[in-house]
Amino acid sequence: MSGETGIYILMAVVSLISTLAVYMAVVEKDLVKAVIYSALQSGLYTILYFLLLAPDIGLVYIPVAVGLIPGVLLILISKTERWEKE
């Protein structure tokens, strides 16, 4: 097996898991858990950016999506309400 195929396998697995994380984030009723799922998706996308050879994007995406957006959304949740009603 060449290294190229290995990289592509990693890419495929990472993007598959990210789809599952997106699905769970959408169907979840607890909004804190939805934020955590979206953080998982951000982490997986970071790996994907790394594999797609985009360090510039990674450098701006890590602080924004891993460090800031969960915090901002949690502030809004803590100020408002946590549960999504049926």
Binding site: G3, T19, L31, I57, I69, E81, E84
Partner: protein, 132 residues
Amino acid sequence: MEIINTYLLSVVLASLLANFVISLYAIFFKPHYIKKIIALTIFSDTANTFAIFIGYRRWINQNPSKVPVLTDLNPRAVEEFAKLAVDPLPQALVLTAIVIGLAVILFLVFLGWILYSHYKTLDMREIRRLRG
């Protein structure tokens, strides 16, 4: 071997398409405001990833494709760099899009707080009902 590589790359493309569909569904049909914001972040991230994926370059004769940053400053390195590096244009466009995305999310969060202090709920169906 080539067809396996193509299949693996198309798994990436298919999952990105699935992310598009799921997050668009959530933006339009999920009633809660915060869920809409979360779906919006996912949507914009997926769009950005899609752009970078389009700009990716496959390996040439077992030579790994390169980061669009030059490491050696001499004429031969420049020629080789132009042959092997991935597309820098989508990366440059996505770079600003991510920062603007965060600013827009911040605006939406402010708006959500104002909405909540007016209506005491963030469920869009209830807000619509309260407006009468």
